[in-house]
C-alpha cells in the first residue's frame, strides 16, 4: 500500500482489482470522524480500514450489508452496514465505481441522471407549466363533473344537508311573507321544477341577507324577502329560481367541493412547504382558479335557466330585468351585487378583480337574456 490514505480517484489496481474510496467514518457514539478507506477487492470482499490499516467495522465484509444513500446533486453520500456507524464520502466517482462493480444503485443513478440534465429539466418545467394550466382550466372541472355525475343521487343530495340549519342559526331570519304569497310563489316554482322530478327540490323563504337567492346541493332553494320585494313581476323571481334549479341539476355544490379539494392537493404537491415564502404567492393562483370554476358554474346555471324559462313559456327577458335591478340595488353600475349562487356570500366585481370574483360581470351575463326576441 502506498502511503496516500485519501485517494481522490478510484483506483483499479491492475493486480488486485480493488476499488478504493476515501471516506470519513463516524462510529455513532461520538461526533468525531476518522479518515478511512472503503475497499472492494476482486473477490467482492469489502474492507473499511483507518489510516493505520485497522478494521473499523467488522461487519463491513459482506457487500450485501452495505447501504449507500442514492446520489443527490453533488453532495457527499453516506453509507452504513446496518449498524450504528455511518460513513460519508465526497469521492463520488469512486463510490459510483464501487457500486457499479457490485452491480447496484442503478435506480439512484437513473434518478441522478434525470436530475442532472438541463434539457430534461427545462422540458419538464415547460410541460408542468402548460400541463398545470390546462389541468386547472379543463382537467380539474372535468374530473369534478364526472365524479359528481357518477355519484349516486341520494349521496349527491346529502352534500350540505346541515347547511340550512347552520345558516338559520347564524345569518338567516324567518320570512315575513304572507302564507298566501308563499304558496303563490311555491306553485310557480313547482311548475318550473316539474320536468326535474328526480331532484328533491323544495323552496324556502328567509330574510336577513339582502336580495338574494341560493341553492343547496340537497335541492333546498332559498329566496329572500328582500328579493321578492325587489321584483316587479313574479316571472322575474321564477327566472332567478330557474337559475338556482340549474345549480342543483348540475350538482354545482358537489363540484365546488371536489374542485376545492383537487386544488389543495395540486398546490401541496407543487409547492410543498409553501408557507416558508409567504402565503400570498401560493394563495393567489388557488383563489384565481376557484373563482374561475365558480364563474363557469354560473354560466352553466344561466344556460339552464334560459332553456327552462323558454320551456315554461316565460320570457328570458325577465332574468335580465331582475339581474339589473339586483345590480342597481347593490349601489351603482360599477359594482355588481351579490346575485345568485350556491353560496350567499358571493359578490362579483368588474375590472381586473373580475377574475377573482365568483360571478361573471352582470352585463355580460344578461346580454343574451335581454335581447331574447319577444313572442308576438
Amino acid at each position: 500500500m502506498p502511503t496516500d490514505h485519501r485517494p481522490r480517484q478510484p483506483r483499479h489496481d491492475a493486480a488486485a482489482h480493488t476499488t478504493q474510496v476515501a471516506v470519513v467514518w463516524f462510529d455513532g457514539q461520538r461526533s468525531e470522524g476518522v479518515a478511512a478507506t472503503l475497499a472492494l477487492d476482486a473477490n467482492h470482499y469489502l474492507t473499511l480500514r483507518d489510516e493505520n490499516g485497522q478494521l473499523l467495522d467488522p461487519e463491513a465484509v459482506c457487500p450485501a450489508r452495505l447501504h449507500i444513500a442514492p446520489p443527490l446533486g453533488d453532495t457527499a453520500r453516506t453509507f452504513h452496514f446496518g449498524g450504528s456507524g455511518r460513513g460519508e464520502s465526497r469521492d463520488l466517482q469512486a463510490l459510483a465505481a464501487l457500486e457499479h462493480a457490485l452491480g447496484r444503485g442503478w435506480k439512484g443513478r437513473a434518478l441522478a441522471r434525470l436530475e442532472s440534465a438541463w434539457p430534461i429539466a427545462l422540458t419538464l418545467g415547460a410541460l408542468v407549466m402548460l400541463g398545470g394550466l390546462a389541468g386547472l382550466r379543463w382537467g380539474v372541472p372535468w374530473a369534478a363533473e364526472q365524479v359528481a355525475i357518477a355519484m349516486p343521487d341520494d349521496l349527491a343530495h346529502k352534500v350540505g344537508a346541515g347547511t340550512l340549519r347552520v345558516l338559520d342559526t347564524t345569518v338567516l331570519k324567518p320570512s315575513r311573507l304572507q302564507t298566501a304569497r308563499k304558496d303563490e310563489l311555491r306553485a310557480g316554482f313547482l311548475t318550473l321544477a316539474a320536468p326535474y322530478d328526480a331532484l328533491p327540490l323544495t323552496l324556502h323563504f328567509r330574510r336577513g341577507v339582502g336580495p338574494n337567492a341560493f341553492a343547496l346541493p340537497d335541492g333546498t332553494v332559498l329566496l329572500t324577502d328582500e328579493l321578492v320585494a325587489l321584483a316587479t313581476d313574479d316571472r322575474q323571481l321564477f327566472a332567478v329560481l330557474a337559475h338556482e334549479i340549474g345549480h342543483v341539476h348540475h350538482r354545482h355544490g358537489v363540484r365546488m367541493a371536489l374542485e376545492g379539494a383537487a386544488l389543495s392537493v395540486l398546490v401541496a404537491v407543487v409547492l410543498g412547504d409553501a408557507t416558508e415564502l409567504g402565503n400570498v404567492a401560493a394563495g393567489m393562483p388557488a383563489a384565481l382558479a376557484q373563482a374561475q370554476f365558480s364563474q363557469a358554474h354560473e354560466i352553466q346555471a344561466d344556460d339552464f335557466a334560459l332553456e327552462t324559462l323558454v320551456h315554461a313559456g316565460i320570457s328570458p327577458r325577465h332574468f335580465a330585468v331582475i339581474m339589473r335591478r339586483l345590480q342597481a340595488s347593490a349601489g351603482g353600475p360599477d359594482r355588481s351585487p351579490v346575485t345568485t349562487g350556491t353560496d350567499p356570500e358571493k359578490t362579483s366585481a368588474d375590472g381586473a378583480l373580475r377574475y377573482l370574483a365568483s360571478h361573471p360581470p352582470t352585463e355580460a351575463r344578461v346580454a343574451r337574456f335581454a335581447t331574447w326576441p319577444e313572442p308576438q
Partner: protein
C-alpha cells in the same frame, strides 16, 4: 479576561464556526422539477420520496465545520404518515360536505389533538436529523405540551390577545430548550421582554401599511368620483369606472402585498436573531445576525421573481432565502465540537411529521 483567573488547560477555546450553505439554485431546480413531475405521475405517492430528497438536499448542503447535516427519515415512514393524514383530512372534507355540525366537531377534535401532533412532529424531525452520525432529539413529554397549550390559550383569551408576544415566547422557549444534540441539551436565554419589544416595533409598522392601503383606496375612490367630471364624460359611466378599478387593482394590490413584506421582513429577521441567537447547545452558543434591510431585499427579489416566472423561480427563491439565513448564522464553539450520542433510540413515527407539512398548508388554504 477570565484567562487571568483560570488555568489555560480549562479555559475553553472560543472560535466561530460559520454555517456554510453550498446549495445552488440550478441544481435544486432540476431536483425540484423531477420531484414535481414524479409526484404528479404517481398521484402523490412519490411526494414522500420527494420530501426526503428535498430535505436531504438542504441538509447536506448545510455544513458546519466541514460536515453537512443528514436527514435520515425513511420515505416509506413519511408515506405512511401522509396516507393516514390524507385519510383524516379526507374525512374532514367529506364531513364538511355532508354534515357541517359533525365537521365542526371534527375540527375541534383536530385542534385538541394538535399539541400532541406538534410534539410528535418535533420529535420525528429531531430524531431524523443528524450531524456526524449523532442525532438530535426532542424530549418534551406530551403532557407538558398540553399544560403549555392550556396556559397559552388561557392567557390569550384573558388578555384579549395582548399576551400573544408572551405566549410566543413560551412556545419558542418550549421548542428551543427541549431539544438535544446527542447528550448535550439545548438551552435558551432569550427573555420575554425582548419579544415584547419586537412586537412594540412591528405592530405600528403593520398598522402603517394598512393605513396607507386605506388612504390609497380613499384616494382612488375620490378620483373615481372626480374623474368623470374632469374628463367630461358622463357621470358614473360604467366603462370609465371599470378602467379605474382595473388600474387600481392591477397596481394597488401587488403594491400592498409588497408593502406587507416590510413589517414581515423586520419581524422575521429580528425573530430569527432572538430565536437562534438565544440558543446554546451544551457549552456552545449560536449567533444569528440577520438584518432587516437585507432580508427585505431577499423577500422582494423573490416575490418579483415568483410573479414574473409564474412560480417557476420557486427553487431559486428557496435557495436564495436559505443561503441568506445561513450566511448570518454562526456557531460559537467553546471547546471541541465532539459530542457523545447519549442513550439509544426512542420510538418515533412519521404521522407527526406529515401533520406538520399538511397542517401548515391547510391553514393556507383556509380550510
Amino acid at each position: 479576561m477570565s484567562a487571568e483567573f483560570e488555568s489555560p488547560a480549562i479555559t475553553p477555546i472560543q472560535r466561530d464556526v460559520p454555517f456554510v450553505f453550498t446549495g445552488e439554485a440550478g441544481e435544486y431546480f432540476r431536483i425540484w422539477i423531477v420531484n414535481v413531475v414524479l409526484s404528479l405521475l404517481t398521484l402523490g405517492v412519490y411526494s414522500a420520496w420527494a420530501k426526503k430528497r428535498t430535505r436531504q438536499y438542504f441538509y447536506r448542503h448545510t455544513q458546519v465545520d466541514g460536515t453537512g447535516f443528514e436527514y435520515l427519515a425513511d420515505p416509506i415512514q413519511i408515506l405512511k404518515g401522509r396516507v393516514v393524514l390524507v385519510l383524516l383530512l379526507g374525512c374532514l372534507v367529506a364531513l364538511q360536505a355532508f354534515d357541517p355540525v359533525l365537521y365542526l366537531v371534527g375540527v375541534a377534535l383536530f385542534m385538541v389533538a394538535s399539541p400532541a401532533l406538534l410534539v410528535a412532529a418535533l420529535r420525528f424531525n429531531a430524531r431524523q436529523s443528524a450531524w456526524r452520525n449523532v442525532r438530535f432529539r426532542f424530549d418534551a413529554p406530551i403532557s407538558v405540551a398540553y399544560q403549555l397549550y392550556a396556559k397559552m390559550v388561557g392567557l390569550t383569551l384573558v388578555t384579549c390577545g395582548f399576551a400573544v408576544p408572551y405566549t410566543q415566547w413560551m412556545w419558542a422557549d418550549f421548542i428551543a430548550s427541549n431539544h438535544r444534540f446527542g447528550d448535550q441539551p439545548f438551552s435558551w436565554r432569550t427573555q420575554p421582554g425582548e419579544i415584547v419589544t419586537l412586537y412594540i416595533y412591528m405592530v405600528p409598522m403593520m398598522m402603517a401599511v394598512y393605513a396607507l392601503f386605506f388612504v390609497g383606496i380613499l384616494c382612488i375612490a375620490t378620483l373615481g368620483q372626480l374623474l368623470p367630471t374632469i374628463l367630461g364624460t358622463k357621470a358614473n359611466d360604467p366603462a370609465t369606472m371599470d378602467q379605474i378599478v382595473s388600474m387600481a387593482s392591477i397596481i394597488g394590490l401587488p403594491l400592498f402585498y409588497a408593502a406587507l413584506t416590510v413589517p414581515s421582513a423586520f419581524f422575521k429577521a429580528r425573530m430569527a436573531n432572538l430565536f437562534f441567537g438565544g440558543m446554546s447547545v451544551g457549552p456552545h452558543t449560536v449567533r444569528s445576525e440577520q438584518r432587516f434591510a437585507e432580508l427585505l431585499r431577499v423577500y422582494l427579489g423573490n416575490l418579483v421573481a415568483l410573479v414574473l416566472s409564474l412560480g417557476l423561480a420557486w427553487p431559486w427563491a428557496k435557495v436564495r432565502l436559505t443561503a441568506y439565513r445561513l450566511s448570518r448564522l454562526t456557531l460559537v464553539a467553546h471547546g471541541p465540537l465532539v459530542v457523545d450520542a447519549g442513550e439509544g433510540a426512542d420510538h418515533v413515527n412519521a404521522l407527526g411529521d406529515a401533520a406538520m407539512d399538511l397542517g401548515e398548508l391547510d391553514l393556507d388554504l383556509g380550510f
